[in-house]
Amino acid sequence: MDQARSLSDEELLDRFQRGAFGYFVDCYNPENGLVADTSRPGSPASIAVVGFALSCYPVGVERGWMTRAEAVARTLATLRFFAESRQGDQPNVTGHQGFYYHFLDMQTGERVWQSELSLIDTTLLLAGVLTASVYFAGDSPDEARIRELADLIYLRIDWCWARGGKATARQGWKPESGFLHYGWDGYDEATILYVLGLASPAHALPLDSYTCWTATYQWENIYDHEYLYAGPLFVHQYSHAWVDFAGIRDEFMREKNSDYFESSRNATYVQREYARRNPYDYAGYGDNCWGLTACDGPGFMTQALDGRERRFFGYAARGAPFGPDDGTIGPCAAFASLPFAPEMSLAALRHYCDRYPDMIKDCRLPGAFNPTLPGDGPAGWVSEGCYGLDQGIVVLMIENYRSGLIWKLMRQCPYVVEGLRRAGFTGGWLS
């Protein structure tokens, strides 16, 4: 990406958006529509990545990178698979109670890695399913079938079961041990989960589940920025890939005279400010090199570097300003804040292109890099290949910044509108 300096912002965004879109072209199984979790050989499919893929196809069509017919074919293959694959409480099927296992075999579509039946990853899959159902509004039998299958997949999910008898949605379930007990607390990426869960006509989450979840929120002033605190940057982005939260407020945000969009903007500022202060003296951190998030890492190890003992982690939810922080940056997370803080995200992207061109392959940013841990170039350790989640969020957030396409589509989705209203959102485009 040596030529990045000569490109306009629009040209640069176009290249990176198309590069990220290419992931879904490359890592796709046409037989069942599944998309690999990572570009590494042998990677299983991630249902969340499939959700991003389904949302990216309309972008590809609108940008002229994919024909509508191909997008329809891909979407139909995917929805057919999820509608027809085996559900049940056995350990080797695809899903249960309408939800799906986090990781599936790319070929057979069955559960792998003893992964959990994942509520949040099913939600991200659903977001893609519903995006497709709104976008493919044509009269052709295939597009009509897409809408039918999308409804089938969404409507059969038993959100109420997913509470496991508790007030809020559980994080997951395993046939071997039942509901997971992660004990998550505080704001996380689940806003869209509650929105879709609350809207279900047949098996909705009760209204008080959202109240109970938001009761764990913490509104903080950190580095003079006020926001709904969560450490990892992706938390402030994922629900926003589909829902335009600017100007709409639930009860909590009315109390704070803010909204989730503004909160995500301030979370982005805090991330940059943390990197500027760089309390643990990690290499690379600065004005244009920031983004602590859930991402790959060098692995769990300790090394003495420049007279300091450094601990590194593998895949982990890194966060600012309270950590964990091992000097690993998720460059896609900084980029995905584009709608919230475009000047900062673009500056970060240009910095990555200028300073670490070798880590960028085919206009795709890696999952993570760590300049503190020596590697082949100035980027230090660089995560192998790409992660589908990273490429998906990049495609969608660039598109939302450029045209608002995904946000506009989801405003037309009756389930999203109904879910937002049930969660107490008012104002803005919901008026």
Partner: protein
Amino acid sequence: MTGPGMKEPGMTEPGPELGTVAPQDRFRRALTDNVRPPAWCNPTPEGKYNLVVIGAGPAGITAAREAAILGAKVALIERDLIGGDRLNVGCVPSKALIRTSRAYAEMRQAGHYGAQVPSDIDIGFAAVMQRMRRIQARLSRADAAQRLTDAGVDVYFGQARFAGPDSVAVGDQILRFKKALIATGARPLTPPIPGLAEAGYLTNENVFDLTERPRRLLVIGGGPVGCELAQAFCRFGCQVIIAQDEPMFLALEERDAAQLLSDSMARDGVEIHLNTAVVAVRVEGAEKIVDLVSEDARFSITVDEILAGIGRAPNVEGLGLEEAGVRYDIRAGIEVDDFLQTSNPRIYAAGDVCLELKFTHTAEASARIVVKNALFLRRERMSALTIPWCTYTDPEIAHVGLYVREARRRNIPVRTFTALMHDVDRAVTDGEEEGFVKIHVRDGTDRILGATVVARHAGEMINGLSVAITLGIGLRNFAKVIHAYPTQAEAIKMAAEAYHRARLTPSIRARTRRRLALDR
């Protein structure tokens, strides 16, 4: 009353010998001489006491002393060692161990401070424990039976049992009272794990008697005491595993606080297993094999010692509470109202035997309330107290007042002002920049609802915030107070300054800008 003090022929024998602990070195003997003198003879009661106190832990000692100073005729009954958990099996020995463990950690991290790492760091466990016993012996002087007697308190050793609604029996003596205080404390809960009792295990009541460092230690339960000791023993070179059958580490604390501590303990080398239940223990040779279940996985570990820290049970047995008409629950302890009065209006309770927050300072504060309410007909409420607490790990976690979740549950809108220790000069110069100060205020006001501090000396820093909450001092006032520079407590002032800056809305800034422009 006649002749309290050293035993003379024919005088009343004290109660059973519960206070014997190993090893019996000169420090232990000095401790025993103070808090359970072998030659002690109980006084002979004469007339009715204003206050009979059962249990000479922090609550009992405080109540007895305060009452005596005010002129009350007071009896204090202890079945074991004066000083209670705090001096004998709690805060004092654990903090002594923690200090030494911190010294070892700093030796290993000497390079972090620009110093040379010692070439050979040899853990002298016997010396560690001897220092602990020396400190216990020294601090026991203040609680010595003779000192209490000199202060006007009749000290009895033996098992107390209510003989009726206004009398207590100690051995064959009957003490009549106008008012009584039950301050018998609590003891460690026994985990119901097959094979554990047979294999033997440690609790806070015997861990400080160790004479050899265990090579591998399993800590069951990740509560504050378990974490403190797990980190300390890890720093003494033990392989330490915490197994906790709950999903959240230090579930009551703020998530960021717990996360920071979890990271810190992992750096030390402590393995933390959440959602992990200990299901069986068996002995093979000198080793203990422990079976654990975590979600769908079952695995075994081999350790030398097991420390159980799953909670505490109130000491309510054997007191004759039924005869005295005092209601109690074997788990929750003695039932008291907000004035710490039991179902028998003559009898009060204080400290761990009746309170949810089982801390030394809470016990002492509750005892002071009892003295006022029982002897002077005051109506002071326990619920009016502002109670800070601290987990003495590294970094420490200290808290006072409401948590955000509690405030939100009460529909109180909350805003949190956070200062990071990595922005505090003194924390950086000390190499102690891990942590934060979070101050929760009622939205739209500067009224402090609560605060959490994570810092190496969080326990010291929380006290200023306790003063503020107790006296109703708002956060904005902290910014007016000059804090000595450089100190770590400046973090509190920095949070207050953030509050001030947040009040400068864009419209206020625009107004001041216009006004200053006119002055140019």
